[in-house]
């Protein structure tokens, strides 16, 4: 995503003339289909907003023709404390760019990202990202991979180890601290990746298609584990995924992104009661939600391709 890292000032001036916004007006109205959770209707959500995104615009330079293209177009999103929100959408729709911008890895041209009401302008320890690829440091043992984020923050190794030990247990990696990453399976490596992020105790946890690189069986198991884990630690989470079932299973809200440039198509509350178990996937309600989300994505894909 190097193309997206641009100087804010220079691109902002370019934007108005080159804004490329394909037919998106039609689909934007299809929002809030399911309404919010019943209990939230009775008493409006009073939890403080953890992550607030206002009119976010991210552009990138198309190297072939030199135009500034818009990857993310005026996205607004509020995520409250303890909420699990997932973004789904077609691949290449800019959702990963969006997540990278929140992580501070990609600069945005307009709008604001706030965590706890503080404006985000770069990477920081208040956010931690779980990457699609485990990307563990191969020369560090599991224990020191988990403490990596803490050590970068200036914490002493011994102290970091103490702080991380809770999460080592939580992701069931105890006994593996002295293994090298290459000795672990893909699923285990992804747990280390998760523990590394959790150990930093971030305000917002960002998950970038965390299970996309895993085989189907492991992915299924890991979804169940993440579900259990998130209900236990109650973190504020923003996830990006291609798997609609994964999104519905884990989330309180599913945001559907339209493609090119990315903008919010629908914001769907998932009111399946918690704690959930993996077998809620068999329920009528679950399948209804999946079909509903799928229909929105499909509609949008058809509009986009002109079918």
């Amino acid at each position: 995503m190097k193309e997206a890292i641009l100087e804010r000032s220079s691109v902002a001036s370019l934007l108005p003339s080159t804004l490329v916004t394909p037919a998106n007006g039609k689909a934007v109205s299809a929002v809030k289909l399911n309404g919010s959770r019943p209990e939230l209707l009775k008493s409006p959500d009073k939890r403080p907003v953890k992550l607030s995104i206002k009119d976010l615009v991210i552009g990138y330079l198309d190297k072939q023709n030199g135009n500034t293209m818009v990857a993310v177009d005026k996205v607004n999103l509020d995520i409250r404390e303890g909420e699990f929100v997932t973004i789904v959408g077609l691949s290449g729709c800019g959702k990963s760019t969006f997540l990278n911008a929140i992580a501070g890895l990609v600069k945005h041209q307009q709008g604001q990202i706030r965590v706890n009401d503080r404006i985000v302008s770069g990477p920081g320890t208040d956010r931690a990202m779980v990457f699609q690829k485990a990307s563990l440091l191969p020369w560090r043992k599991v224990g020191r991979n988990i403490t990596y984020g803490l050590e970068l923050g200036g914490m002493k190794q011994s102290e970091a180890r103490k702080k991380a030990s809770y999460y080592v247990n939580l992701v069931r990696l105890n006994g593996f601290e002295n293994h090298y990453p290459h000795q672990l399976s893909g699923g285990m490596q992804q747990r280390v990746n998760l523990a590394r992020a959790l150990a930093c105790d971030p305000e917002v946890l960002l998950l970038d298609e965390p299970f996309a690189a895993l085989d189907a069986i492991t992915r299924e198991l890991m979804q169940g584990e993440l579900l259990e884990l998130c209900e236990k630690v109650g973190k504020t989470v923003l996830m990006v995924t291609h798997q609609i079932d994964e999104a519905v299973l884990l989330s309180d809200r599913v945001i559907v992104f339209a493609a090119c440039p990315a903008h919010v198509l629908a914001d769907i509350a998932i009111s399946i009661p918690r704690p959930r178990k993996s077998h809620v996937k068999d329920s009528e309600e679950f399948r209804g939600l999946m079909n509903q989300i799928w229909a929105i994505i499909e509609d949008n894909a058809n509009i986009g391709s002109g079918i």
Binding site: F131, S135, L152, P181
Partner: protein
């Protein structure tokens, strides 16, 4: 059950290793026997070829009269100073070239040209500049050993895993922290490879420089023995140099395995 199979496998591997070792050493032994026979039966003029037994005797003689230790100390000094300087300069230069594109663009062609120049051909100049003493030899060793280090570390920097840099940045690492936690560990195996190559080149540099223009050291000893037809002593000197090279390479190889133990294939000890 699983443990038993693994045990058997390692036994097989051990046997295979011993067989390989036997095969390799038997060729050497056969060579030495053949050499000795050529000498004993006067097939070739004994003055020219010497013999393993005579080489051993010559070796004992130069150990006995202290001339080996004396010359070895001089050569070792030249090597260590030159090699040390090559590390001190080559390591940062290689890293800088790999890490900063601007520096690479600026100094890359110059260094490539330097590398292509046969250093030993400059020996007459070094003698004019630094004299016949050990300084001119140190310079030759330095120039022989430095390029493998520079090239290897430069390559190391280009193999840095971008995903890891991405992770590092996401966790708020500064450029210096990225360098320390990602670039430096990545460079270690390359450093060891560079050190091994540099040791070989440096050793060659010492000997050639001493043969070329010197009054002391193993290279000089070999050169002098050769010009006075003491072939036994020539071979004894060459043997000492070869053994030094093998020991050095073996030590550095072990060092490399130590740094490489996080990699799967090097886990076999």
């Amino acid at each position: 059950m699983r443990k038993a199979t693994v045990l058997q496998k390692s036994n097989v591997a051990k046997k295979e290793k011993i067989a390989t070792l036997l095969l390799g050493s038997s060729v050497i032994v056969l060579f030495l026997i053949g050499w000795e026979l050529l000498f004993q039966f006067r097939v070739v003029n004994p003055l020219f070829i010497s013999a393993p037994s005579r080489v051993v005797l010559a070796l004992i003689a130069i150990i006995g009269d202290g001339s080996l230790a004396e010359n070895l100390a001089i050569s070792a000094k030249e090597f260590l100073f030159g090699y040390g300087a090559a590390i001190l300069v080559g390591f940062p230069v290689g890293i800088l070239l790999g890490w900063f594109k601007l520096i690479r663009d600026a100094f890359g062609p110059f260094i490539a040209a330097m590398q292509a120049t046969p250093r030993i051909a400059l020996m007459p100049l070094f003698i004019i500049w630094f004299g016949l003493g050990i300084t001119s030899k140190i310079v030759v060793v330095l120039l022989s050993a430095i390029f493998p280090l520079i090239v290897n570390l430069q390559v190391a920097m280009s193999t840095i895993d971008n995903d890891l840099v991405h992770v590092s940045r996401a966790y708020g690492a500064s450029r210096w922290q990225i360098f320390r936690s990602i670039a430096l560990p990545t460079s270690l195996p390359f450093l060891v490879t560079g050190l091994r190559l540099a040791a070989g080149r440096g050793l060659l540099g010492v000997i050639v420089a001493e043969v070329f223009g010197g009054a002391e050291g193993i290279g000089y000893m070999i050169q002098y023995a050769g010009s006075t037809f003491q072939t036994d002593k020539v071979f004894a000197g060459v043997l000492v140099v070869a053994l030094t090279g093998i020991t050095l390479d073996f030590t550095l190889d072990r060092l490399g395995r130590h740094f490489d133990r996080w990699r799967g294939d090097a886990a076999v000890h």
